[in-house]
Amino acid sequence: MLKIDNLHVRTGGAEILHGLTLAVNAGEVHAIMGPNGSGKSTLAQAIAGHEDYEVTDGSIEFLGEDIAELDPEERARAGLFLGFQYPVEIPGVNNAYLLKAALNARRKQAGEDEIDAYEFLKLAKEKMALLGMDPKFLNRGVNEGFSGGEKKRNEILQMAVLEPKLAILDETDSGLDIDALKAVAQGVNALRSPDRAIVLVTHYQRLLDYITPDFVHVLSGGRIIHSGDKSLATELEDRGYDWVVEAATA
């Protein structure tokens, strides 16, 4: 599904990722954890194709194709989804309009017809019910005046409607109360399937109480320095990151 090899990424005049390697197969859920400033968001942005994040070496393969030179919209249409740490407010662009345009962009890529208005509304309302979202959010501006929790639910709503092959969720748990966290986790768990992969980028272990990862990686200093199963997350919560960092540099 996703194969990252020796990835070097520069942004803001500095190299942040120094040779990161990671493989994610279909059906797997990976958690990438690490201290602040370790390069977690840089990794997420680089995979999604933000032009401020320059790949200077190495490769990112998605579904067997090197995507490092593709535009962000081409990656999205191929089935890649990034859940933003800070979803952007866009007053004047209707939430339902964006959702429908995004879905149709994917369907067009897949050679399918555009979804009709009735089917779309049915689908959107069904997914909103799953996430405990009021349907009135469909008619608001994109994230306009949404609370932190509402913004994150809206990200998960987009993911649920788009049904990506690979979802990367960047700090989706930050700033959420327990109800919102559960709703988000439910949305993610509903999407787990043998032909889909999910990468959770997170600072805390809290989200992993509700979404059980198959693999946990520690990102530090721009590289993955340690990998394990779900028990690693608990150990990190108990012992912090220092011991892994020290072991890796020793």
């Binding site: 919209e73 999205a76 890529q109």
Partner: protein, 423 residues
């Protein structure tokens, strides 16, 4: 001084039909002989050069002609008057005859020459208007007015360069309400200049909801001045859309002389290659409590320029004034220029005044967000430009015009070409 040929002007004025407007015309010619047209040395015309208009006026005065209304013009008129639930008064090439034959519930229409206004203090452009005016329209709004009143002003410059003057005075009686649309169009490829002067007087407890739509051709320049006097507990709500034109200068002067009077003004201007749009507003808070709100938005692309000068004047004794001004601009080209200036002058106590202006490009974060959802870059840019504009549209009064305005705006935004957007 921007010179007019004053002898030719005087000769032309002497040839106009006599009657009630003679005295004001004489006064206007005398004023113009002294002042000429505004030049860029005048503070309020610092960024707006009327010399092309002066040149056109001179040429026109040598051979004053008025072309016939073309089939194309008839078609444009038919398109607009087909908009349902609006009573349209059509003024083509300054001719008021068709408008004066209309009989509409709750409205009285008469010629300005039949009840000439007292001699006013004239500025150069209102003097030019008064001097060359053949006649104007006086509209009184009483009880029983049901549908929005539409003023469709069309100037046809398909045969010769032209000049037209428009003067309309509207009075809304106490306690009555008016929905008013001003719609300006032009046809033909010759140069044209129109100069409109309007007065709107709102009686105690009355309300006016006003929409101004300017979609002139790129060969057409227009100066327009609207003076509004808002009575006690009366409200003026307005949105203006400048979507076309070569050089456009709007002066909106709002007088709030009585307690409880309120003005809410919004505006959107688009300016592309070769265009120039200048909006000057002035709100006089003469007593309190009075409220004014101004929000103008501009989208500039290509080689173009826009000017916004919004002023709130809080006079001595206008305690309890609440005034806000905002001007936001989207610059989509490095060749576009905006001069924006909010002004506040305060001589009262206990006032709440705020102003803010912004000038910027499309939000890169929003652009990436939309692209990360699969929208291509051009589509994402168009969506963000539309989102910027649509916020003025959402607040626009006169619901009957909304679908038309929505479609027109879409068409105009689609002409902002990719080259402009990608800079």
């Amino acid at each position: 001084m921007n010179a007019l040929d004053i002898d030719k002007l005087r000769a032309h004025v002497e040839g106009l039909p006599g009657g009630g407007l003679d005295a004001i015309r004489q006064q206007a010619v005398a004023t113009l002989a002294e002042t000429g047209l505004p030049s860029t040395r005048d503070e309020s015309f610092k960024y707006t050069d009327l010399s092309e208009i002066g040149q056109l006026s001179r040429t026109w005065l040598e051979h004053p002609t008025r072309g016939q209304v073309s089939a194309e013009t008839e078609r444009r008129i038919a398109d607009v008057t087909a908009i349902a639930d609006v009573d349209w008064l059509v003024i083509a090439n300054g001719d008021l005859k068709a408008a004066l034959t209309r009989s509409l519930p709750g409205l009285s229409l008469e010629r300005l020459s039949e009840s000439p206004p007292p001699l006013p203090a004239l500025q150069p452009l209102t003097a030019l208007n008064a001097a060359l005016l053949e006649d104007g329209l006086v509209i009184r709004v009483g009880a029983g007015q049901q549908r929005p009143l539409g003023l469709l002003v069309v100037d046809d410059a398909s045969e010769a360069p032209g000049l037209s003057q428009l003067r309309i005075d509207i009075e809304v009686a106490a306690g009555q309400s008016l929905e008013l649309v001003e719609y300006y169009l032009s046809t033909g490829d010759e140069a044209h200049y129109s100069n409109a002067v309007l007065h709107l007087e709102l009686g105690q407890g009355s309300a006016a909801r006003h929409l101004r739509l300017q979609d002139r051709s790129v060969r057409h320049s227009q100066t327009q001045r609207l003076d509004v006097t808002v009575g006690r507990d009366a409200a003026f709500t307005s949105a203006s859309f400048d979507l076309g034109g070569r050089l456009t200068r709007n002066d909106l002067n709002i007088d709030l002389p009585r307690a409880g009077s309120r003005a809410e003004v919004a505006g959107l201007y688009l300016s592309g290659d070769g265009q120039h749009v200048d909006n000057h507003t002035l709100v006089d808070h003469r007593t309190g409590p009075t409220v004014s709100r101004q929000e103008y938005r501009g989208i500039l692309f290509g080689r173009s320029r826009a000017v916004w000068n919004g002023k709130a004047m809080v006079h001595e004794g206008a305690d309890g004034t609440d005034a806000e001004q905002a001007n936001h601009n989207l610059l989509l080209s490095e060749h576009a220029e905006i001069d924006t200036k909010p002004e506040l002058e305060i001589y009262a106590e206990d006032v709440r005044c705020a102003h803010g202006t912004t000038v910027g490009q499309l939000d890169e974060r929003a652009l990436f967000y939309l692209r990360s959802r699969g929208l291509d870059a051009d589509e994402a840019r168009r969506l963000l430009v539309h989102a910027f504009a649509v916020q003025v549209l959402a607040a626009a009064p006169v619901d009957a015009l909304k679908p038309h305005l929505d479609a027109l705006l879409d068409t105009k935004l689609a002409t902002i070409n990719d080259a402009s957007l990608s800079i």
